[in-house]
Amino acid sequence: MITLTINGKLRRYDGDPEMPLLWVLRDELNLKGAKFGCGMGLCGACTVHINDEPARSCVTKASDVAGKSVTTIEGISADGSHPVQVAWAALDVPQCGYCQAGQIMTACALLAKKPNPTDSEIDNAMNGNLCRCGTYQRIRAAVHRATQLTKSSIGGNRQGAL
């Protein structure tokens, strides 16, 4: 039995402890926001926060998140009111959208640490999140927009706001 916090709620999981967190979220808890892309930690579509750090849920075993706090795209705000989501929608970043939950989670984690990142800091932070449609220019612009939307620290520990 594994106990962990997902989007502020205490959850229990008693399945295969080797099963990656991604499949606990998607198949066991029906949280479909984090996406299965490569299954090898290479594309970033499955990115979630584990104790506020961006992590690839497809290569993180369930047993490794016991006692930890996980935030998914569904947890940053259900109505799209998080500044990163607002910026993403305002600049119409997504095309097919498959990678975007991962992109947004990585961007949130970046802004929590660096509220006012430079272009190269954005590029470095977002580097591991692939987009097959090539929305990289708008992603970078949206991170800047999110910075403008909130001068105060965002991301970080938003659990209280959930």
Binding site: D16, D27, G33, G80, Q85, G97
Partner: protein
Amino acid sequence: MNRRFFLRASAIAGGGFMLGLYPKPKLNAQGFPGSNQVLSPLDFVSIGPDSAATIVAKNQELGQGALNLLPMMVAEELDVEWKAVRIVRSGVEPKYGGQFTGGSSATPSNWEPMRRIGAAMRQMLIAAAVQTWDVPAEECSTGSGIVRHKASNRSLTYGELTSKAITMPVPDLASLKLKDPKDYKIIGKTTSGADTKEIVTGKPIFGIDVTVPGMLYAVFEKTPVSGGQVLSANLDAVKSMRGVRHAFIVEGIPLPSSYPNYLFDGPGFEAGVAIVADNWWAAQSARRKLEVKWDFGKWATQDSDANARKADELSKQPGRTLRSEGDAEAAFRRDDVKVVESPYVFPFIAHATMEPQNCTAHYKDGKIEI
């Protein structure tokens, strides 16, 4: 069939979905060539009492904007403001006509039918106003979801007309007069993605997100060589693994021998081993323990180098004209044109979509919904 037509064209163009390399579509609003199907505006447009227009997007969104673009064509001729439009995704049903997105075909193949759908609905709204006011249709004009009769200074919103409009006869789509492009208010303008909000909030809108009650998850270990067969597999060992419900050999159905036919003459089916489990991870874990003895079949000796040599050989023979515009030979002869010649080789690779290929099949009441 339209769908096959484009698949074939894309296949001839090298197996990729290549821009502009298919013959120009000859489609009309009465469905598609070779079919008697008639598209109805009532299947695509519904207008609420508040004049909001709900428009059905019949083609799938793959990232290029088809979800917006087809409703934009409808809304343009319907003569409503874009902010009054709500886009809904359709299911897959014959009444929507061809629903294939790919090969850069969604826009050109729907360009005329979708505008005619919007124009037909507009005409039905005008007909409803004509009947209400008892004035000639030619004296009525539309704009921003309102029908106006200038001579008597009267107007009715689409919302006020909608219940009567849907009882009006559906006009012959082919006979409708379409707008002059210079009058376009929506087409040619940037609109934001209809699914953007769903995407940024992580809503389950992708094929892989579909769930049905009691759903099981299958993985399929396909023959590594096209046309290969399974000789044997350690099915008992696989079935004994945690969470695995079934494991079985799937015999192949022979594939058509010539390549373009592969896509539309009865597709055939590659052989392999299917593993069905309670969740995807269990199925995938079992797959790692799977041991298969294959008969790779007659294509086992094919290799990429030989294919490249064959392509080079074929490239020196006269080709077949698929589409011809302008005079390329004359352009090459011009003095002010620099001609660059080089062989380009494209490997035989997958499209590398980020969403892995997947499909949900739901068996219910003796039918399978896919």
